[in-house]
């Protein structure tokens, strides 16, 4: 079985935040933090960049609005022109509601599926689930895993490093 990662437990959310900073500063890039709830400031501690999901959602929303407006314009002015209550063929006021609805719908799809794509979901299994310790991350565990794919990863050194920053219950995770 291939070595996947080393995983270590920390006392509390504050300790996890400090440890995340230490791991980042030590130069590791392939690592992750696991906690039962979101911890404020973790993005900064891990040095994560802002997610581009907002721009995906925004782009999709603009696309939806364009499709909604153009479709209605095409239908009412050239494909099937019909005078309704004496108003002009091109009555943009009437298009706004559908345009707005498609703006929201596409924006929501962009946000949800953009998030899925960026997180490489759906995914049925991840090697980190071979860890015994990981189950605690949905209960009372504050964990950091450093993956073997990291250029700086060395089983002995990384284990010593995790211990030096206060990690306990250090476990070697094997599997694919």
């Amino acid at each position: 079985m291939k070595t996947h990662a080393l995983i270590a437990a920390f006392e509390h959310p504050g300790a996890l935040l400090d440890a995340a900073v230490r791991v980042r500063e030590a130069g590791y890039t392939h690592y992750d933090c696991h906690s039962p709830f979101p911890i404020h400031g973790m993005d900064d501690a891990m040095g994560l960049k802002r997610s581009p999901v907002g721009f995906i959602a925004g782009g999709m929303a603009a696309l939806g609005a364009t499709i909604g407006f153009s479709l209605q314009t095409w239908v009412t002015t050239s494909a099937y022109p019909l005078v309704i209550s004496g108003k002009p063929m091109f009555s943009w006021q009437a298009y706004i509601i559908i345009t707005f609805a498609l703006f929201v719908l596409f924006g929501a799809f962009g946000a949800v599926f953009g998030m899925f794509g960026l997180n490489r979901l759906p995914r049925l299994h991840h090697p980190i689930f071979h860890s015994e310790l990981l189950a605690k991350a949905s209960d009372d565990g504050f964990l950091i895993s450093i993956e073997a794919s990291d250029a700086r990863f060395n089983e002995e050194e990384t284990r010593a490093f995790l211990a030096s920053i206060g990690g306990t219950h250090i476990e070697l995770v094997r599997g694919e």
Partner: protein, 393 residues
């Protein structure tokens, strides 16, 4: 330069802001009153515009205070005292309401008895739209708002001294009932003071429209006030970029809400195409008003929307100041757009619009500053204060 004690957040130096505001207020109000003798009709119209402009802003601050109590919000605790102080400017506006009572005959078509007698619609509405009931309602609205503002402020400054968390719960209860009263009074005030300028026309969304514009501008004014305090070196590390970011989000949300309500009102009337309803929008489109209407759509909604959409803009205090200032100006244009088409065709901007807006504004900001500097600049003993200072978006 005003200054704060960094431990207790009390003002050690109140600065010159209050004096400048009072001086400006008196000077410009006096100038406007001079105008009353040259063109009384225009005086009352511009006074109503500026009165509506500032009243909606101050009411927005009152709503902000109650909203934060009801939702038990943490982030806004450091900003609450300024909003409370702004809502205490209501008595100034009660005084500014007096000229409108003198100008009822100039402003409100329905106050002419001979017109009502020959107009079936106005005769039918007369039990509501008559001068006595109008004055009684106006005083009642102010009574409700002033009591709410003073009760909440009194509790809040009491907590500064005794630090009793029971005040937090009491203010939450008061605000829950207060928001209910606020919704009714603001809706009827909007109907009375602005919608009844066209007594034949009605829109059930009008009250919400008035409220949204006022709350939005109130957030812009509070943002600018905190920027001013920060530039004078006050509240450093207390009101942080995180709080400005949240103000930016509120500006964003409410500029969208404003467009949503304004748009819905327009689309429904456009769809139905009933002359007695469309006449209101036609008066705001013909004879040069189209430019004002377009300015509202672009500068009150599209420009703030497209800029505030971005994360970096909401964390850039220079851009936030620019957008907040734009929204304050556009709220005045909005009030101008609601009031002025009633008084004949064509866009008639008078110097009295400017002087009355600055005059009433000076008096409001003077009262704000007097109230604000009288106590701690933040609710010093609020149980959530430390969390609010440490707030992160």
């Amino acid at each position: 330069m005003a200054a704060l004690d960094t431990q207790t957040y009390t003002f050690t130096d109140k600065g010159r802001f209050g004096v400048i505001a009072l001086g400006t207020g008196i000077l410009f109000t006096a100038l406007t009153v001079v105008g009353a003798f040259t063109d009384s009709h225009m005086f009352f119209a511009s006074w109503l515009t500026s009165f509506a402009f500032w009243t909606t802003i101050v009411l927005g601050a009152l709503f902000f205070v109650m909203l934060q109590h009801v939702t038990a919000a943490v982030w806004s605790v450091v900003t609450r005292r300024a909003a409370e102080a702004l809502s205490l400017a209501l008595p100034v506006l009660l005084v500014c309401f007096i000229p409108i009572l003198f100008g009822m005959h100039d402003l409100f078509h329905w106050s002419h008895a001979e017109e009502v007698a020959s107009d079936h619609v106005l005769a039918w509405k007369a039990p509501y739209l008559n001068t006595t009931f109008f004055i009684v309602r106006g005083l009642l609205f102010f009574a409700v708002w002033i009591v709410l503002a003073f009760v909440l402020h009194r509790r809040s400054v009491k907590q500064d001294v005794d630090g009793d968390p029971a005040h937090t719960y009491a203010m939450r209860k008061i605000s829950a009932g207060g928001i209910f009263l606020f919704a009714f009074t603001v809706t009827f005030a909007g109907v009375d003071w602005l919608m009844s300028l066209n007594p034949h026309w009605y829109s059930t969304m009008f009250g919400v429209y008035i409220f949204v514009g006022g709350f939005l501008t109130s957030m812009a004014v509070l943002l600018l006030v905190f920027q001013m305090l920060r530039r004078q070196g006050m509240l450093e590390g207390v009101v942080t970029i995180e709080h400005f970011h949240d103000f930016g989000r509120l500006l964003f949300a409410f500029t969208v809400f404003w467009a949503y309500i304004g748009g819905s009102q327009y689309y429904l009337i456009w769809y139905a195409n009933i002359p007695e309803e469309t006449v209101w929008f036609l008066a705001r489109w013909d004879n040069g008003w189209k430019a004002v209407s377009m300015a509202l759509i672009f500068l009150h909604f599209i420009v703030p929307f497209l800029t505030l959409l971005f994360f970096r803009v909401k964390r850039n205090t220079v851009l936030l100041r620019v957008i907040a200032s734009l929204l304050v100006v556009m709220h005045f244009v909005d009030m101008f757009w609601l009031v002025m088409p009633t008084f004949g065709p064509g866009v008639h901007f008078s110097w009295m619009h400017l002087t009355s807006a600055i005059g009433i504004g000076g008096l409001v900001m003077w009262m704000f500053w007097v109230r604000y500097t009288a106590h701690s600049a933040v609710p010093a003993s609020d149980p959530k204060l430390a969390d609010s200072i440490a707030h992160r978006v």
